[in-house]
Amino acid sequence: MKQLLILSGKGGTGKTTIAGAFIKLAESRAYADCDVDAPNLHLIRPHASPARRSDYYGMRKAVINEDSCKSCGFCRQNCCFEAINESNGKYVVDAYACEGCGVCEAVCPIGAVSLQPTVAGELMLYKEDGVFSTARLKMGSGTSGKLVTEVKKQLKQEAIDADLAVIDGSPGIGCPVIASLSGVDMVLIVAEPSLSGLSDMERIIKTAEKFKMKIGVCVNKYDTNKELARKIETFCQERELPFVGKIPFDNAAIKAINRGQSIVDVDCPAGRAATKVFYKTLLIMNS
């Protein structure tokens, strides 16, 4: 199974819209949403049957046993993350700030602290014509990289016979993105023609290059700033990065999305352009 990962450096560039179109065009039987902080792909891939859900356990977190705590304050003094609060002699762990390092557990003279497993999110697996692996991180849980790895593991285990997996990546350049890169055959970077888009693109390209990825670049909503769209194209030429095309801003695309469709489900300029981008990307991935 070949894996195509779609990244953008930042959300809002139309990554999910393009992923949705690609899944449709490829008639892909395997796809995943690795944006576990804010998954969106399921909104345009409606499923008739419910998902198989499983809890995802993140890092363990400290819990103080109120009854045995002697209020000596050692735990608080030694926590580097300011995760233990004291009020009126009572010590309580702030689960959002706790990183589960275990220092408090180890310093507590009477064993009043223990690290306990906490549910950090939920994995979802839809199985119909194809396999769709996705997840949702619980509010305030910090281990999204590990959950991304789980999403990909779930996809791989369930979709053994699929040829191409389309993976919607997560925004940014941090741990979830790095986790989503592993085992991928190609990265398609969706850039936006704006100064910020240019800066985001450069940072994500650097990240992908650091992991020696095969890269393609496309510009979405190119006609909202043609000059900068051209600049992105030139940048790619200079850096010898394959430029796979540009997609116009298209009201029809927004309408399709709001109806829960992909942009290639309707005949519109954005959909036609995305189709071209798709075939060019495939060509590069298979070369």
């Binding site: 959300g11 809002g12 560039t13 804010a38 275990g102 936006e192 100064l195 700033n225 927004i254 709001n258």
Partner: protein, 285 residues
């Protein structure tokens, strides 16, 4: 007053709203907490830039003192340590700098070194002091950069606009912790609603007063607006989908500095936010 601007996801106009509000205010501080992809400085173009590194502490074992007892290796919950071939190895990318290994080494063989993971850049742009955090490429977590950014800003007594990272995970929570008011920016699509729902959940969890700005509003129906109405969420303002505004924004220009029409738009928004925030804090007590 500290106003955190968030959106559940990037690209909805979080930076547009925060830089324009800061520019419209009389005197303000703009803090870019989107340390993975900081963009605010591209708009505000600050002058007199000062750079300051952000470092985390990394353990280092003195091979002369270390006996290889592996107490530290067994302790480390992040598997950041290994004792291989008579040497203690530290995997710096996964170390959380908790200090546990240092604390529990029976030989006192471990000391801390600094490792730079990012940068804080500050400068001035007219009425706005611009502070941006930038995480180095290849780092896993920007939280230490955000922590430092916000710690340094606690003393500010001007209006502070915090441009939050996208999502609702640890970095966002870090960014809104100290905020007096949260401003949620939403797009008029079903993606927009979904992202809004997430930050909505977050601000309620943190019991922060908040309101929504609807961005890129078209004539057509607006699922994000419907969501606000259904849930009785205050709509602070609407920014129309406007080609001129879009072009200025994509070219890194600040609309409220270029055009009185947009200055009015953002000044009005700022007034509404101030009123709301005062009202909310008053009704809290």
């Amino acid at each position: 007053m500290k106003i955190a601007v968030l959106s559940g996801k990037g690209g909805t106009g979080k930076t547009l709203v925060s830089v324009n509000l800061a520019a419209a205010a009389e005197a303000a501080v703009y803090i870019d907490c989107d340390v993975e992809e900081p963009n605010g400085h591209l708009f505000l173009k600050p002058q007199d830039i000062k750079n300051e590194g952000v470092a985390v502490k990394l353990p280092h074992a003195d091979p002369k003192l270390c006996t290889g007892c592996r107490t530290c290796v067994d302790f480390c919950k992040f598997n950041a340590l290994a004792y291989i071939k008579d040497r203690l190895i530290v995997f710096s990318e996964v170390c959380h700098s908790c200090g546990g290994c240092l604390l529990f080494c029976p030989q006192k063989a471990i000391s801390e070194k600094e490792r730079e993971i990012g940068l804080i850049q500050s400068g001035i742009s007219g009425n706005v002091r611009v502070v941006s955090g930038m995480m180095n490429i290849g780092e896993a977590s920007g939280v230490p950069v955000i922590k430092k950014l916000l710690r340094d800003s606690r003393k500010e007594n001007k209006d502070v606009f915090i441009d939050c990272p996208p999502g609702s995970a640890c970095m966002v929570m870090e960014s809104i912790k100290d905020a007096d008011y949260c401003l949620l920016v939403a797009e008029p699509t079903i993606f927009g609603v979904h992202n809004l729902e997430m930050v909505y959940e977050l601000v309620r969890l943190f019991q922060k007063p908040f309101g929504v700005v609807l961005n890129k509003c078209l004539e057509e129906e607006n699922p994000a607006e419907d969501f606000c109405l259904q849930n009785q969420i205050t709509i602070l303002g609407k920014i129309p989908f406007d080609l001129k505004l879009g072009t200025m924004n994509s070219n890194g220009q600040i609309a409220s500095r270029k055009h009185p029409k947009y200055k009015d738009l953002f000044l009005n928004l700022l007034e509404t936010v101030r009123k709301e925030a005062r009202h909310e804090t008053a009704s809290d007590t």
